[in-house]
């Protein structure tokens, strides 16, 4: 998912993916699974570079729900990274989290909201918060880079200390808009 990404000036100044990575470390997250999104590029790199974490690329997002359940059964904590289109792929698998009360931390970069240039991203992006709510997942919002540390810590604590299913929705305003203008 390469492409030119325009970011707001506050996002340039504050390394918000590093703040999320620190929140995952603080909550002793050891398995980080993902289907890539351009907005998660740096966080994915940080997780791969972290010897205390297993970074697990997935073929489809619902695999990460199972992985997180297995990790918890084995005494480890797991987080799942995706873009909002992947939320739709997770719906039935989320019954695993709600039926058994598994802790779950989803970090979802939002497409289809602010200035989206791919109309096919809009339907799932717009449905994402409600779809998660219907599937029993609590949602939190990250809008500004300077809030990343506090909001990521709140989300991680809600998942692992309150033992609930939580999705942190990372605003498209924060990650920037894919322009489709760059030569590949």
């Amino acid at each position: 998912m390469q492409g030119k990404i325009s970011r707001s000036s506050s996002a340039e100044a504050i390394d918000w993916p590093a703040a999320i990575h620190r929140a995952l470390k603080a909550q002793r997250v050891r398995q980080v699974s993902y289907v890539p999104d351009a907005g998660h590029k740096r966080l994915i790199e940080l997780c791969h570079a972290d010897k205390g974490m297993a970074a697990v690329p997935l073929t489809t997002e619902e695999e990460g729900i199972g992985l997180a359940a297995g990790a918890w059964l084995g005494g480890e904590r797991s987080a799942l990274l995706m873009q909002s289109s992947g939320v739709g792929n997770c719906i039935n698998a989320l019954s695993l989290a709600s039926s058994c009360g598994f802790p779950l931390l989803m970090l979802v970069t939002m497409r289809g909201e602010t200035g989206e240039r791919n109309p096919w991203q809009v339907p799932m992006g717009q449905a994402t918060p409600e779809a998660l709510r219907l599937a029993g997942v609590r949602t939190l919002r990250l809008e500004r880079a300077e809030e990343a540390s506090a909001v990521a810590n709140t989300a991680a604590k809600a998942a692992f200390e309150e033992q609930s299913a939580v999705a942190l929705l990372i605003s498209q305003q924060l990650i920037g808009v894919k322009s489709f203008e760059e030569k590949r």
């Binding site: 297993a54 697990v56 619902e62 695999e63 992985l67 997180a68 297995g70 059964l73 005494g75 009360g101």
Partner: protein, 195 residues
């Protein structure tokens, strides 16, 4: 015609299971594992079809010193086919996946699955990087499968062709929170289970 009896195969694999950690896919594989003896270190699924192998992967990564066995069905495995690629990319050496393949959706009226039409799951697993992936058709092969599950270097994959029998239901507990708690308590101890 497949000759193996699924209950006998699963009972053979789980007999004297020691420290083995087991994930049982929904439907008949969960009943097979329960028929072999309900056990706190078996996590049987009642839903989330397609997730069994990924639960096994998360468990295998979290517990690298324990052996992890996923027992699931052909329909369940077909729904999570991509997870074979994900497991192949991680190469956990302590994980084995056994597909009890009756070539049918047994819980919904015995409709044929893709394996009845030739889908070779073992070939898929092999292509995804499993160290050993084989189709098993004979009772004489089960001892070697068992030996690999308990001692062999994984990830391992065995597609065991069984008779499409409709056998009596032997149901595990249904309460997901209970299944989770008892597994963690048995594996991690009373204190850790609450963390």
């Amino acid at each position: 015609m497949n000759a193996l009896n699924r209950r006998e195969v699963v009972a053979s694999l789980l007999e004297g299971r020691g420290e083995l950690l087991v994930v049982a896919g929904l439907g008949a594989p969960a009943w097979d594992c329960t028929a072999a003896g309900d056990h706190p270190l078996t996590f049987p699924l009642w839903g989330a079809m397609g997730s069994a192998s990924m639960i096994g992967l998360g468990l295998a990564l979290a517990q690298p010193k324990r052996r992890v066995l996923v027992v699931t069905g052909d329909g369940e495995m077909l729904m999570g086919l991509g997870s074979l690629a994900t497991i192949g990319a991680q190469r956990p050496d302590n994980l084995a996946v056994v597909v009890i393949d009756n070539e049918r959706y047994g819980e919904t009226g015995m409709q044929k699955t893709h394996t009845a039409h030739g889908t070779d799951l073992a070939a898929v697993a092999s292509a995804c990087g499993f160290v050993d992936a084989r189709i098993i058709r004979r009772n004489t092969e089960i001892a070697a499968v068992r030996s690999s599950i308990y001692r062999g270097r994984g990830p391992l994959f065995f597609q065991v062709k069984v008779k499409p029998d409709a056998l009596p239901l032997v149901l595990p507990p249904r309460d997901g929170a209970h299944l989770k708690h008892r597994f963690r308590e048995a594996l991690l101890g009373k204190g850790a289970a609450a963390q």
